[in-house]
């Protein structure tokens, strides 16, 4: 039943748009880092992209049903790797997020856990098969995500842990969660917020939230980052300052220009027209993904693609929202554009799964 696989069924349109975004990312990484100590990272980014493409093609040929069947093992390994971070993790910037793998270097398990969670959550909610979803069903689904999420939160890495929520939300939605469940979650969430503020959030996380609301409080810290980002975006105007001409980007006023704030520097140098163009590319990619989900051969395939959509949308919303001063600073990169190996690898593995599912759409 899986003999007629062909790369003719590979989604070349989606691939083309993804590559276009990645290429703009490399260009902007080059422009933003050329005059800094990070000069040359765009070349590294291209290597990561090549590695990502290879991973994507490999991922697309392994039947996703195989991955789904073995996903409980992957889940166990995920939990173990997160425990390993606690045990032997490398501390940097006040957080323990990495483990050192011999020969590979620093590895951030929380990134690939994302991928595992997409599959595990899709598998779980697909298995519910549209029967009347009960409270135990809902709570089991939540528990699947809550365990790794809590472990990542403790690293601490609020941003990444929050990215585990969108696949869950989409799973609950598509899996047949009732409105009354949703209502209970909303109320519970509202009640939990003050407790979370008091016991879960680290002081620096609270500070970021406060600075998001009052950036002038901390003109040199995260408030500074927001302020400088707003200036950079606004300075771009309609047509932008031109490649490598953004004073905010080139004068190093913008923080971490080639990673988390890459959209800010892109918006400065390419203006409203360029930034809207990039948003349009992302929008096309997302619509294409939803279309692929609709044509997926089965529920689990559709749910996996929708999980990818959810994570992608969440990243874009949080990152671009942060750059535009609409969201607090969380350190979530912009997928496909921000510099970073883990992020690139995750995106292309996720796309590989999408291709995998698409290529099998006519199988039965």
């Amino acid at each position: 039943m899986r003999k007629f696989l062909s790369f003719r069924d590979f989604d070349w349109v989606l691939f083309g748009f993804v590559l276009a975004i990645a290429a703009l990312g490399v260009l902007q990484i080059y422009s933003a880092s050329a005059n800094t100590k990070f000069a040359g990272v765009h070349v590294k980014q291209m290597y990561w992209l090549l590695a990502g493409l290879a991973a994507m093609f490999i991922m697309s040929v392994v039947d996703y049903h195989f991955l789904v069947e073995k996903s409980h093992w992957a889940y166990i390994v995920s939990i173990l790797s997160l425990m390993a971070v606690f045990a032997v993790g490398v501390t940097a910037l006040g957080a323990k997020r990495w483990i050192r793998l011999p020969g590979i270097g620093l590895f951030q398990p929380s990134e690939w856990v994302k991928l595992v969670l997409i599959i595990v959550v899709a598998r779980y909610f697909a298995s519910l098969n549209q029967r009347d979803v009960t409270w135990p069903d809902v709570l089991k689904g939540i528990a699947l995500v809550a365990v790794p999420m809590f472990m990542v939160l403790k690293q601490p890495d609020l941003g990444t842990s929050l990215t585990y929520l969108p696949p869950l939300a989409v799973g609950l939605f598509l899996g047949g969660m009732k409105w009354k469940h949703a209502a209970v979650f909303l109320i519970a969430g509202a009640l939990m917020a003050p407790i979370a503020w008091k016991f879960v959030l680290k002081p620096y996380q609270k500070e970021r939230l406060v600075n998001f609301i009052h950036p002038e409080n901390d003109p040199k810290g995260t408030g500074y980052q927001i302020t400088q980002s707003l200036i950079a975006v606004g300075n771009g105007g309609i047509f932008g300052k031109g490649i490598a001409q953004g004073t905010q980007t080139q004068g190093m006023f913008l923080p971490v220009t080639h990673t988390d704030f890459i959209f800010s520097s892109f918006a400065e140098e390419h203006g409203f027209v360029g930034a809207m163009g990039v948003l349009l590319l992302y929008f096309i990619v997302l619509m294409r993904l939803v279309q692929n989900a609709q044509t997926a051969p089965d529920r689990v395939g559709a749910m996996i693609i929708m999980g990818v959509v959810a994570i992608l949308v969440f990243h874009i919303l949080v990152n671009v929202g942060m750059v535009l001063g609409m969201m607090p600073v969380t350190g979530i990169p912009l997928p496909l554009m921000s510099y970073g190996g883990s992020s690139v690898m995750f995106m292309f593995l996720a796309l590989g799964m999408v291709m995998n599912i698409r290529m099998r759409r006519f199988v039965n």
Binding site: I231, T247, A267, V309
Partner: protein, 666 residues
């Protein structure tokens, strides 16, 4: 997997997701629109401000020169050590090195940083002001190791040493919070250096200049990456004083060792040739930052070193007032044929008023106006005062500028008091007693004057009634806009004095310093020196008998002119606790002598075109140590400056200039 029996996910749910995504993108698109289309001009400005920094170029204050162009007050470049707190790393480790390099205790640096802790990081901490060249070299040499250390150059005021002319010049300091609230300071900013007293205050707007600015491009670390434009600083305008350095030196030396004041003025035009007040403070100590202890000491010193006594000491003029009395007597036709027999005093209104002469166990006998002046006979003036009455006395005193500000261009001039019946009712709500008129007749009682008022009045009387307005600057040398403001400095008024009486009074004044007068020891050979002594009681004689000590001794006065009629200079001298006027007369004589000798020397020079013997250097700073070595005014002038506690030798900034030769005539 149970394929086939599976239910499809409803298409409507995908549609919901698609619209959700669309909504999110519309929100983000709106965010971009808000920043890049609506707010773009505002953010462009902010982006500009981000990278353009305006660095002020401080304008040096104008120099102050004497009437012959000799520099009295100059500026010198001074460096301050700054700690750029934004860039400071591992300070704890570096502190000992910084402290050693800047020759200051570590604890002092720590306390400076503690004080700055509450301020924004971008504000650098001033570690030490006015650092030595060695310390500047230390900072420059350690640029890589200690990048947080910076130097900035400021122009600091360089005043003559040891408070020479300090009360005339005044001093500068940081503009105070209260000043900043006043309208005339609206253009000034926190930290600006402004004149605080004396001429520095009076002519501040002219001396201050206009700071320039450099606009530079910087990166986030504030590192300069490019230059945009430069507005050069406009230095403050030079102030040319009427003061004659030679006369000032003579006056400073003459007053050395006494408390009091000397003011010398050209009675023909009101130009102040010298102005000294003692004790003195050193304005150089204010130029960096005066320590609290030193400031408190100056404030609480009973001898009031900060007070400019030449214009602020209001004291009974004593017998100097008799000259005004004499003019009143002449004008009212009382003294022409008036002869009073002095038996050592006389009774008035049931009370006995003594003449000073009884202390010497003699009497003046028959006294006319001339003898009354040169012998300073109290009995004569008591009698005259009785005949004039307080109303007419007050009229003449006021006509010669007593009881009112002279209008000198120095801040906070005192008014003095000319008592009268109305004055007493107004101020004390009491009736005037006739006996008080008798005291006022000899310059005692309620009448008080300042040295500048006496110089002006006596100068006017010797000039046959021409009353001038004293001023410290040469009006014609002022810049146009300032000159218009002070045009009234040249105004004079005429008080009529009957010619015969005038000659009598001025001749009698010349006899004061003759053997028959009260101050024969002040006689100057070959110089037409005239004046009037005064010894003013501080407390009544009865009280004095109970108390003793210097602070209750009389104040000595002398107001002298040369030549006796239509003089070229009038000098008023106040010696606090000076016992008698003849001491003040001798001090006045020194100033007069210096004036006349200089004039004669200049005449000889113009005639023979001979270079000056006198060694005077530009930027001359009066040096106490070099006093009295060649008899020529007893002064030699070192070009070196002290700056607070540091000995002058330590500075490498010592500058020498060639002596000025062939001083032009005046």
């Amino acid at each position: 997997m149970a394929i086939g029996r599976e239910e499809k996910i409803p298409a409507s749910k995908f549609t919901v997701v698609q619209y959700g995504v669309l909504a999110i993108f519309l929100v983000l698109g709106f965010g971009l629109w808000r920043l890049q289309v609506i707010g773009s001009s505002r953010y462009e400005t902010l982006a500009e401000q981000n990278r353009i920094r305006t660095i002020p170029i401080l304008a040096p204050r104008g120099k102050i020169k004497d009437r012959e162009g000799r520099v009295i007050v100059d500026n010198y470049p001074s460096f301050s050590a700054l700690l750029i707190r934004e860039d400071a790393r591992d300070l704890v480790v570096k502190l000992p090195k910084i402290a050693a390099g800047l020759n200051m205790p570590e604890e002092e640096i720590r306390s400076i940083l503690r004080r700055m802790a509450g301020r924004t990081k971008s504000e650098p901490a001033v570690l030490k002001q006015d650092i030595t060249p060695d310390e500047v070299a230390f900072i420059e040499a350690n640029k890589t190791e200690l990048p947080e250390l910076e130097t900035i150059m400021v122009h600091r005021r360089l005043y003559p040493k040891d408070g020479f002319a300090a009360h005339l010049i005044g001093y500068v300091g940081e503009v105070s919070e209260t000043d900043l609230d006043r309208p005339q300071f609206e253009l000034y900013n926190q930290g600006d250096i402004v004149g605080k007293s004396g001429l520095e205050y009076q002519y501040n707007d002219m001396l201050i200049g206009k700071d320039g600015a450099r606009r530079v491009l910087v990166d986030t670390r504030g590192k300069e990456v490019g230059r945009l434009s430069k507005t050069p600083a406009v230095p403050g305008k030079e102030l040319r004083l009427a003061m004659d350095l030679d006369i000032q030196i003579a006056a400073e030396e003459a007053l050395e060792g006494h408390n009091g004041a000397i003011v010398a003025m050209d009675p023909r035009n009101g130009e102040i040739l010298a102005l000294v007040s003692r004790p003195v403070f050193d304005p150089n100590h204010f130029a960096v930052r005066i320590s609290r202890d030193e400031w408190n000491k100056l404030l609480t010193d009973p001898a009031k070193p900060l007070m400019n006594k030449a214009i602020q000491a209001q004291l009974a003029p004593g017998s100097v007032f008799k000259i005004i009395m004499s003019v009143a007597g002449v004008q009212e036709n009382i003294t022409q044929n008036m002869v009073v027999n002095c038996g050592g005093g006389r009774d008035f209104y049931g009370r006995h008023f003594k003449c000073w002469v009884v202390a010497e166990h003699r009497t003046h006998g028959a006294v006319d106006l001339a003898k009354a002046i040169y012998q300073s006979c109290d009995t004569f003036f008591y009698t005259l005062g009785e005949r004039l009455g307080i109303g007419r006395i007050a009229k003449y005193a006021q006509a010669f500028g007593l009881g009112q500000r002279s209008g000198i261009d120095l801040p906070e001039e005192a008014v003095g008091v000319v008592p009268s019946e109305e004055w007493k009712i107004r101020t004390q709500k009491q009736k005037w007693y006739a006996g008080e008129t008798i005291s006022v007749s000899i310059g005692q009682g309620a009448v008080t004057t300042t040295p500048i008022q006496l110089a002006r009045a006596i100068g006017a009387i010797a000039s046959e009634g021409r009353l001038v307005r004293p001023h410290t600057v040469i009006v014609d040398a002022l810049p146009e806009e300032v000159r218009q403001r002070v045009e009234n400095f040249k105004e004079t008024s005429l008080v009529a004095i009957e010619h015969q009486g005038w000659e009598t009074i001025t001749d009698a004044m010349a006899d004061v310093v003759n053997p028959i007068g009260t101050a024969p020891s002040a006689h100057l050979k070959d110089i037409d020196f005239a004046g009037k002594t005064g010894s003013a009681q501080v407390i009544s004689n009865t009280l004095r008998s109970k108390l003793s000590g210097k602070e209750y001794r009389d104040n000595g006065w002398f107001a002298g002119v040369t030549p006796r009629r239509n003089p070229e200079i009038v000098v008023a001298t106040l010696i606090e606790q000076g016992e008698h006027g003849y001491l003040a007369a001798r001090i006045t004589a020194q100033v007069i002598k210096a004036f006349v000798e200089k004039k004669r020397r200049n005449q000889v020079q113009t005639a023979q075109a001979m270079p000056s013997k006198k060694e005077v250097e530009v930027g001359a700073v009066w040096s106490e140590s070099a006093r009295g070595n060649d008899g020529l005014h007893g002064g030699r002038f070192n070009v070196a400056w002290s700056n607070g506690p540091r000995p002058a030798k330590q500075r490498s900034l010592v500058r020498t200039s060639p002596p000025v030769s062939g001083m032009g005539g005046n």
